[in-house]
């Protein structure tokens, strides 16, 4: 199929198998390797991207579902060399260890803050429930999201 969609606000046109996973389109066809594959079945959240404002698993999203859609990946967050507030808060709050879950975690947090700029700790933990981190106990990750929300103007 001829697939026309948007990745990080740029139009993309590709000839792909309709069953090709968004994850492979991003990583192999578009060389956007910031999106990671941890489980291939939507359990770990390492491949989380935002599609039309919602967090989705790139490993469970197929090319046929992408026509005309807007996909944002971790590569789309940094603007003019400046980190997104979430990225900066993850760095500064020591919320990053091995980093393999980080990009998916940040994208889930981004989707949360798009819809709920003022989340409680419980809402943050629930929003991140599909993102597994094996290095931490989630404390700094929750702190990072909470701080990003505060810096964006909400009160947590």
């Amino acid at each position: 199929m001829r697939l026309n969609f948007f990745v990080n606000d740029a139009p993309v046109s590709l000839e792909v198998d309709p069953q090709r996973r968004l994850l492979d389109i991003l990583r192999e066809d578009l060389e956007l390797t910031g999106t990671k594959e941890g489980c291939s079945e939507g359990e770990c959240g390492a491949c989380t991207v935002i599609m039309d404002g919602l967090a989705v698993h790139a490993c469970l999203t197929l090319a046929a579902q992408l026509q005309g859609r807007h996909v944002t990946t971790i590569e789309g967050l940094e603007k003019n060399g400046e980190l997104d507030i979430l990225q900066r808060c993850f760095v500064e709050e020591i919320a990053i260890q091995c980093g393999f879950c980080t990009t998916g975690m940040i994208m889930s947090a981004k989707a949360l803050l798009l819809h709920n700029p003022n989340p409680t700790e419980e809402e943050i933990r629930t929003a991140l429930s599909g993102n597994l981190c094996r290095c931490s106990g989630y404390v700094q990750i929750v702190n990072a999201v909470s701080r990003a929300a505060r810096e964006l103007g909400g009160e947590v």
Binding site: S40, L77, C98, G99, F100
Partner: protein, 757 residues
């Protein structure tokens, strides 16, 4: 000290946050072949034939490699040192004829892209001759899977430490039985490796996230009969290991295929293969016996352990012995015995797992201590306080002083900050007034090591050179798991040199460039390698002063360092920047500013912690919730306290999973769980706001700035504390870990039924 003790993000935090860091799965090499594996579909038997005809007909397939078309490459996946230092026989082939578990390696397909390789692998036809198999202890002990001449018990040991106490016969005896499930490491990054072979120079290059580049080099070079200096192994960024990337599964495959094909290859396991076809933490059964005086003094500790090695013996002979040594690092055990037995089964091999068996042994010992506290009518914290080792005492197994141990202070601080007595009292009231929900609070301690010493004469080497602009680059064999070793070492060097941290460059281990090192084992990185970094920094500092003295033609004693420049006492206008000294040294001393350090490690103080868990159990569903958790650790000087705390919180997440949920199980046909949908990790809503406190005044003599280890000890008390809290909540004696809902409900149902009878 300026940086040591401050909170710093990991060195590559920014590139991890942007997604720009290239893990092994992100590496693209020109002409790269992608590998897909064919794994055994039977638990035990022989590969009779491999028919690759259909696979080879696919366009873009470069080759199919298996036992019958390659030389018999053999290796031992546990070996990390040269054969003379670690006498381990080659136990497995790169491609097996004799398969021992579902998931054993049978063949590898190389193709132009991952999809073609996967499709071709599915077309490879393998014919098997099946043999009887065993998947658990009971089957293994019957020997039904044993070949001619093979016994069900692969290894047996009896070890005794210390001397029996004269009043042992009058002591109070307490016994427990425990069973522990297999665990999957569940590093978020599945296993991956790339390799390239240059036939003109006969050089093989391997990159993987691993814990010992020199270990891979010795295994691969010996297997391929190559000189060691022709095999280059590079430590790639690691998306978590927890012991799961310290034994070699993918590297030998990539090495063989790259050499056969004479082109770069890449092999990335998916989650299913990482679970089924690498290795797991062993299953264990244990009986523990303690003998106490009436006042709670521990007189004797006996452990009887049965360990399932899985399909290959690998590290299991060491894995059953090593944790016994850690029984003498936390508590005063005057006399201890271990009877250990190892069986093999036709399941995923057992291997290294964070704490190396110590958390498992402490689950049993702490369980026994909780029963002892009840039997002696003592508070569980008091019983532990009675028996913890104190400064001035010795680890009688290693025959080393415990040094400035702070286990007692960990217990006291934890008891206070966790509101132990209030919580226990509140639990009693809560349980009396609640029929459905029950709460329990428990404590557990644990001890571990900082180094290979005394098992090996541990050492580390570091080189540092100052560039002609005054910046510094250091060569050191670091294997950062993602918990901040590189950043910690940069902080150490920056403080030793009084140089801003961003002017220091430090890569990770690379056998072509960095000094020989045992790798990241035994929680040795900071204590041993970090100390070498500190020594190297001090040596380079002396070189800088020496050059400056020659440059100024004044005695060295008159010079000192401040703010990355050399000053002269009494002459405030003299301030030689490092850049000027470096350039002067090159032009006049005809050398660069260079220093190295060879650190020979000769101590191993005890390193311990005390953990406190508060758990609620739903007796109707068996579901559990960790309500509150506090860990207090004796770490000496924390180099980067924020990373110590984050890493320990991770150990607690992992230990809570081990106690309550995680179990890597096998179906009767020998197939393992191979999905995170069926292997339940703790997620963000499952865990409380985990508290970790560090006690930093028990400095080590030898660690950098007085540091001790943190990597493994954080894991040791967790499952013991959480399991203890569940038993406390239910006033029960659950023995099987994890205490998952099914087991809890089954136990309570049986208990109710017994009451009715």
């Amino acid at each position: 000290m300026k940086l040591v003790g401050t909170e710093q993000p990991i060195h590559d935090a920014r590139s991890k946050a942007t997604g720009r860091l290239r893990y092994t799965c992100d590496i693209v090499q020109p002409r790269q072949a992608h590998l897909a594996m064919v794994f055994s579909s039977i638990p035990h038997g022989y590969v009779v034939s491999v028919d690759a005809t259909k696979a080879l007909e696919l366009s873009g397939v470069y080759g199919v490699f298996h036992y019958y078309n390659t030389p018999e490459y053999r290796f031992n996946h546990y070996r990390t040192q040269f054969q003379a230092a670690q006498d381990l026989p080659p136990e497995e082939c790169v491609f097996q004829r004799y398969v021992r578990f579902v998931g054993d390696r049978v063949a590898a397909v190389a193709a132009k892209d991952p999809e073609t390789a996967r499709r071709a692998a599915a077309l490879v036809k393998v014919e098997y001759q099946q043999l009887p198999y065993a998947t658990d202890f009971d089957e293994a002990l019957t020997g039904k899977h044993c070949l001619d001449g093979q016994a069900p018990i692969e290894d047996e040991c009896n070890i005794t430490v210390g001397q029996p106490r004269p009043d042992e016969a009058e002591g109070i005896e307490v016994t427990v039985h425990n069973e522990l499930s297999r665990l999957h490491h569940a590093a978020m990054e599945p296993h991956a490796c790339v390799a390239d072979y240059d036939p003109d120079t006969d050089e093989l290059t391997i990159q993987s996230p691993n814990q010992a580049v020199f270990g891979i080099r010795t295994v691969v070079a010996d297997m391929l009969h190559m000189p060691y200096n022709r095999v280059r192994v590079i430590k790639a960024p690691m998306g978590g290991s927890f012991g799961g990337k310290q034994e070699w599964m993918l590297e030998p495959v990539c090495a063989v295929v790259a050499k056969e094909l004479k082109r770069p290859v890449k092999l990335v396991y998916d989650r299913a293969a990482s679970m089924r076809s690498t290795y797991c933490r062993c299953a264990m059964r244990g009986d523990v016996r303690g003998v106490f005086r009436k006042d709670g003094t521990l007189l004797r500790l006996d452990l009887d352990i049965l360990l399932d090695a899985g399909a290959y013996i690998g590290n299991s002979r060491d894995y059953i012995r090593a944790p016994f040594g850690k029984m003498f690092r936390c508590y005063r055990v005057p006399y201890g015995t271990l009877h250990g037995r190892v069986v093999s089964t036709n399941t995923t091999p057992s291997g290294a797992f964070r704490s190396w068996g110590v958390a498992e042994y402490y689950v049993m010992v702490e369980h026994m201590l909780n029963k002892a506290a009840a039997a002696l009518n003592m508070d569980p914290v008091e019983l532990r306080l009675k028996n913890v080792l104190l400064p001035g005492e010795s680890d009688i197994k290693m025959k080393l002083p415990v040094e400035e141990t702070r286990t007692r202070e960990c217990l006291l601080q934890g008891r206070d900050h966790f509101h132990w007595e209030e919580k226990r009292k509140a639990d009693t009231e809560f349980n009396a007034s609640n029929h459905r929900y029950k709460r329990g609070t428990a404590v557990a301690c644990g001890g571990h090591t900082n180094t290979y010493y005394t098992r090996f004469n541990d050492f580390a080497g570091v080189e540092a050179r100052m560039c002609d602009d005054g910046t510094v680059q250091a060569n050191v064999s670091i294997h950062d798991h993602g918990c901040g070793s590189v950043q910690a070492f940069k902080m150490i060097l920056a403080d030793a040199l009084e140089l801003p941290i961003d002017l220091i460059r430090m890569g990770e281990a690379d056998t072509a460039h960095t000094p020989y090192d045992y790798g990241c084992f035994s929680s040795r990185s900071t204590f041993v390698v970090g100390r070498a970094v500190q020594c190297c920094g001090e040596n380079l500092r002396r070189e800088i002063i020496k050059s400056a003295a020659l440059m100024l033609d004044v005695p060295e004693e008159e010079l000192y360092i401040k703010d990355a420049s050399v000053r002269r006492k009494g002459y405030e206008d003299v301030a030689l920047p490092y850049k000027d000294i470096s350039q002067w040294t090159i032009l006049n001393r005809r050398q660069e500013l260079f220093a190295d350090a060879r650190h020979h490690n000769v101590t191993n103080p005890t390193v311990t912690g005390a953990h406190f868990a508060h758990v609620e159990v739903d007796t109707w569903t068996g579901l559990t919730k960790v309500l509150d958790y506090l860990a207090v650790h004796d770490v000496g000087q924390a180099i980067n306290p924020a990373m110590c705390i984050a890493q320990t919180q991770g150990a607690i997440q992992m230990g809570c999973g081990a106690a309550l949920r995680e179990q890597f199980t096998f179906a009767p046909d020998g197939r393992s769980v191979s999905s995170l949908a069926k292997y339940h990790l703790m997620n963000a809503p499952d865990l409380p706001d985990i508290q970790v406190e560090l006690i930093q005044d028990g400095r080590s003599q030898e660690g950098p700035f007085g540091a001790k280890s943190i990597g493994e000890v954080g894991m040791v008390p967790v499952a013991a504390a959480v399991a203890g809290a569940v038993n406390q909540a239910l006033d029960a004696d659950l023995q099987v870990i994890p205490m998952d809902p099914d087991r809890i409900v089954e136990y309570l149902t049986k208990r109710e039924a017994a009451k009715c009878d």
